[in-house]
């Protein structure tokens, strides 16, 4: 396991508690200019679960994910890691705690100027004392874990297929041995076979590494395959004023059995009255 430089682990034991949700959003709102994306949402992520967040395009799923990892500052409300408000953490504590999270970006976000090896090794180089020969076996194992041969190490991201990029990005996150993995639409743009490969990798990561997962997706096959619990977000502009933006919380089976027309329409992928939007265009 990589040895991270910075604050001694003993200090973190005072912060990390098994009782509190591993990540929690309390009355969180996010606004970009005049556009409200999230309004007063409350979400808890419990240790060991796979939480899947679904919803229409533009309802704030990716913003929710980035807010959980504190990659986006909220307009109001707070983000708690193991019960501690991230704003109250000292910089070094914050940086060390954030290393417990891994993020798989929607577009993979591989660094274009680096080859696969340097991409996967990036986190290790910047956060540990390891160099050169010590890093190489970790990088190679990380690539093998996601089903990639080590001869991709010298390739640049532009030379990789979409599925390979996603797997390299996953390896880059997993070599840091995170406790929580955030997946932002991990199967978008991939063919059905590769999508299922990614789903299997998410399951494998959870089972082999005991990682808590938060997944944002449109893909209902992914939802039914990997989700322990589903949250459905609804766009701020379309919800009722006194209504929560989280319109559903439950298991996949409960989602498919839901009486809420918004939920049933989404999970079944039915246009229904939305077909009128085509004639208005």
């Amino acid at each position: 396991m990589p040895r991270f430089s910075g604050t001694a682990p003993e200090q973190e034991k005072q912060i990390i508690s098994d009782d509190a949700p591993i990540v929690e959003l309390r009355d969180l709102s996010c606004r970009f200019g005049q556009q409200h994306v999230l309004r007063d949402i409350n979400i808890s992520v419990h240790r060991g679960e796979t939480l899947v967040i679904i919803g229409e395009s533009g309802c704030g799923k990716s913003v929710t994910l980035k807010a959980m990892m504190s990659l986006l500052p909220p307009t109001s409300g707070c983000v708690l890691w193991n019960g501690h408000d991230v704003r109250d953490l000292a910089t070094q504590q914050f940086n060390r705690m954030r290393l417990r999270f891994g993020f798989l970006f929607q577009g993979s976000a591989l660094f274009d100027s680096m080859d696969v090896y340097d991409n996967v090794a990036f986190g290790l180089i910047h956060n540990t004392d390891m160099r050169g020969e010590a890093i190489q076996p970790i990088v190679h194992q990380g690539l093998r874990d996601v089903g990639l041969p080590i001869d991709v190490c010298g390739k640049k991201p532009a030379e990789l297929s979409g599925g390979m990029k996603k797997r390299v990005a996953l390896a880059r996150a997993l070599v840091m041995t995170p406790e929580v993995m955030f997946y932002d639409e991990p199967t978008t743009g991939l063919d059905p076979i590769m999508s299922d490969v990614i789903n299997e990798l998410v399951l494998q990561t959870r089972e082999q590494r005991q990682v808590t997962s938060v997944v944002v997706t449109h893909d209902m096959r992914t939802v039914t395959k990997i989700a322990d619990r589903i949250l459905m977000l609804y766009p701020v502009s379309q919800k009722k004023p006194d209504e929560s933006q989280v319109v559903f919380e439950g298991t996949p089976e409960q989602a498919f059995a839901s009486d809420d027309p918004r939920v049933s329409q989404f999970v079944r992928g039915e246009a229904r009255d939305r077909i009128r939007e085509l004639s208005c265009a």
Binding site: K66, L99, G102, F111
Partner: protein, 276 residues
């Protein structure tokens, strides 16, 4: 639309632009302060810094040499007839060299590099922003300013003065070549008056200017890249704005640094007359 509402719209637009301009200056200042903080916290990794130094310095050599050479030759072309009228063509070397080292070399080399280096940095960082690579840097435990901006800033501050010196040298040689070989100016006189009238202070004040120009180019380019709008249009706008803002900053800095270095000269050597 009535004249009143037209003037109201104009006032509103002017007001909005002023507010945006002041906000931008404030944002740039905050960015510069964060950059200064990270620079004090430690140097970037050698591999990253050397890569930046190579991209900014070594790969700009050829374009800077061409720029410098032709500046010197153009100065020779444009000045020769006026000086010949007063039979002062032998002083051409002093004029070309003084113009180059004190003013044209730093300004035009910096302008060229604002286009080549600054726009490239803004576009690269802008692309990283729109493809979430900057978020990925943060997610992997590195700070984007420390990892991306500090090496670029240091590279510009170190390399642009050196490139300016190369531009000056090429300009002086280009001016000499054209003046002596084509215009018939005596080579001995060219170098005699150059050495007599151009001092080390003139050279150093030009290089001091280029250091500030380098800092401005790096700061503006990185800021524009980090705050780039969405998509290809946003990246293109960031690259364009980087060049335009850098060019304006170069001209403003040139003015104030020129006043400063001149006043400093007269403070150190009071009573010295203008040499030409």
């Amino acid at each position: 639309m009535s004249a009143v509402s037209q003037s109201h719209n104009l006032v509103c637009r002017l007001g909005a632009r002023t507010v945006n301009g002041v906000t931008l200056l404030g944002d740039l200042t905050v960015f510069a302060t964060r950059l200064a903080g990270w620079m004090l916290s430690g140097l970037p990794r050698r591999a990253v810094l050397v890569d930046c130094l190579h991209n900014i310095g070594v790969r700009s050599l050829s374009v800077v040499m061409v720029t410098g050479t032709f500046i010197g030759m153009v100065l020779s072309v444009q000045s020769y007839d006026q000086f010949r009228m007063f039979h002062l063509e032998s002083r051409l070397g002093a004029v070309i060299t003084m113009s180059l080292v004190a003013e044209l070399g730093p300004v035009l080399a910096a302008t060229m590099l604002a286009g080549r280096v600054g726009s490239a940095m803004a576009a690269e960082l802008g692309t990283m922003r729109v493809t979430e690579q900057i978020d990925a840097v943060r997610a992997l435990g590195a700070h984007p300013i420390q990892y991306l901006v500090v090496p670029r800033f240091l590279s510009c501050v170190l390399m642009i003065p050196l490139l300016t010196a190369v531009a000056d040298g090429c300009g002086i040689l280009g001016g000499w070549l054209f003046s002596t070989q084509l215009l018939g100016v005596d080579s001995f006189n060219y170098w005699f008056y150059t050495c007599n009238y151009v001092t080390a202070y003139d050279v150093m004040s030009g290089l001091l200017k280029s250091t500030f120009f380098g800092a401005a180019i790096a700061l503006i380019a990185c800021h524009r890249g980090f705050h780039c709008g969405a998509g290809a249009e946003g990246v293109g706008t960031a690259a364009t704005e980087s060049f335009v803002m850098s060019f304006i900053a170069i001209l403003i800095l040139d003015f104030f640094l020129g006043v400063f270095t001149n006043n400093l000269y007269y403070m150190i050597w009071p009573g010295h007359m203008s040499i030409i």
